[in-house]
Symmetry: C2
Subunit: 212 residues, 2 copies
DNA sequence: ACCTGAACACCGTTCAAGT
DNA sequence: ACCTGAACACCGTTCAAGT
C-alpha cells in the first residue's frame, strides 16, 4: 500500500511544480490523486509531514552517484557536481529552497548529502574541527542563492527603483557609481559558478595555509 | 491618519514576534489594533502588502548610522557592523529572514542597505564589475544563516539521527570520522563571526591579487 | 470619510458512518 | 481495513449597509 503514498507524494510535487506551494492543499492533492481529502490522512499523517516528505524526496536526488571502488574524482570535482546537481534540482522545483530553510532537515537522505560533503572536505585536507562549519557555509550559500532566485530577491527592478529614488533626492552614491554595471543583465549561472569557485578557492587556500 | 497604519503594522509585528508568522491573520491583527478585519484594508491594502511593510520596517533598521563628515570607520569595520546589526535584528524577529527570501526586496530601505554595502566594497578596492556579485554573496550568506538558525535547519538532532542511521547499516563515514566534533555544542555567534571573517578575508585577498 | 456585518469561497482536521 | 460526508473552526477578501 506504499504505492498510494508515493502516488500522493507525486501528486503534491506535481501541483507545487505547476502552480506553486500555495496550490498544495489537502483537497487539491487528494483530487489529483483520485481521493477525497480525508483519505490522505492515514497515508501521510498531516500536511506538515506531507511537506517534509516532498522535500525529502527531492533531497534524495541531490548527491551524485558514488564510485564504489574508492577511486572516483577529486574533492573539488565532487563538490562542484554536488552544487550543480542541487542547483539544477531547485530550478525544476522552485518551491523547495524556502521549505528546506523552514523545516529541520534530518531525514536519512539529508544526512547522506551532508556526509557526502563532509567526505569531500576531509579529502581536501580541511582540518576536522572546521569541516562541519564549512559544510554549513557551503550549503547555506547554495540554498540561499536558490531561494533568492526563486523568490525574486535578486531582480532587475532593484536598479530601476534605485534610479527613481535617486531622482527623488535620496542619495545613493554606490548605485550611482556602479550604474554602468547595474544595467547589464546578470547571467545567474555564471554568477553561481563564480561564487562557487570563490568558495572552493578559499577552502583550498585555507588548507594550504594550515599545512605550512 | 498614518498613525493608524503604523499601529496596524506594530500590531502585526508584535504578533509575529510572539507567536510566529502563522499567527498574523488579518482578523488577529485587527483585533490587536482594536478594529475589525475589514477596517484594515483601506490602510494596508492587502495581506501581502502588510507583510511587505513588516519586512520593510525591519530592513530600515539594519544599516548603522553613517558618519556625515566623510571620515568614518574603514570598510571592514562597516561591513562587520552591518552584518552584526542584521544578525541581531533577525534574532529578535525570526520570522523575517524567510519573508525576505520569498518576496522581492525593492523598497527604498532595502535599496539604502544595498547601497551601504556597495560603498564599503568600493572603498575596499573591489573592482566595480564585481561589487554587485559580492553584495549578493554576502547578503545571501547573512540571510541564509539567519533563516537556517530560525528554521531549525542547523540542529543537534542531525547528529543523533546520523548515529542511529549508522547503526542501521547505512554507512556514513564522514559523520563517523567527525563524531568527536559533532558532539560539541556549536556556538552560533562564534560560527557566524568565523564565516564573516572568512568572507572579508577573501575579499581582501581578492583585492590584493587584482592590484598586483 | 471611515467602519461594520454578513457572506463567499476557501483552508486543515475530526469523527461518526458507510462498505 | 479503507474510504466518505458532514461538520468545526478557521482563512482572505468583497460589498452593501450603516454612521
Amino acid at each position: 500500500m506504499d504505492d498510494k503514498r508515493q502516488a500522493i507524494l507525486d501528486a503534491a510535487i506535481a501541483l507545487a511544480d505547476e502552480n506553486g506551494l500555495n496550490a498544495v492543499s489537502m483537497r487539491a492533492v487528494a483530487e489529483r490523486a483520485g481521493l477525497t481529502a480525508m483519505a490522505l490522512y492515514p497515508h501521510v499523517g498531516t500536511k506538515a509531514e506531507l511537506l517534509d516528505e516532498m522535500v525529502g524526496s527531492l533531497v534524495s536526488q541531490i548527491p551524485p552517484p558514488e564510485a564504489t571502488d574508492g577511486a572516483g574524482p577529486d574533492w573539488r570535482t565532487r563538490l562542484q557536481a554536488l552544487a550543480w546537481s542541487a542547483r539544477r534540482l531547485f530550478r525544476e522545483h522552485p518551491w523547495a529552497p524556502t521549505l528546506l530553510f523552514s523545516r529541520p532537515y534530518v531525514t536519512p537522505d539529508a544526512t547522506r548529502t551532508v556526509d557526502y560533503t563532509y567526505r569531500a572536505l576531509l579529502d581536501a585536507g580541511v582540518p576536522e574541527p572546521q569541516v562541519p562549519r564549512l559544510e554549513r557555509m557551503l550549503s547555506t550559500l547554495i540554498l540561499g542563492y536558490a531561494a533568492s532566485e526563486a523568490g525574486g530577491r535578486f531582480g532587475q527592478e532593484l536598479d530601476r527603483r534605485a534610479r527613481r529614488e535617486q531622482l527623488r533626492g535620496q542619495p545613493l552614491p554606490g548605485h550611482h557609481r556602479l550604474a554602468r554595471w547595474l544595467e547589464l543583465r546578470v547571467d545567474w549561472d555564471a554568477e553561481f559558478e563564480a561564487d562557487l569557485e570563490d568558495v572552493l578557492d578559499f577552502i583550498e587556500a585555507a588548507v594550504a595555509r594550515s599545512a605550512s
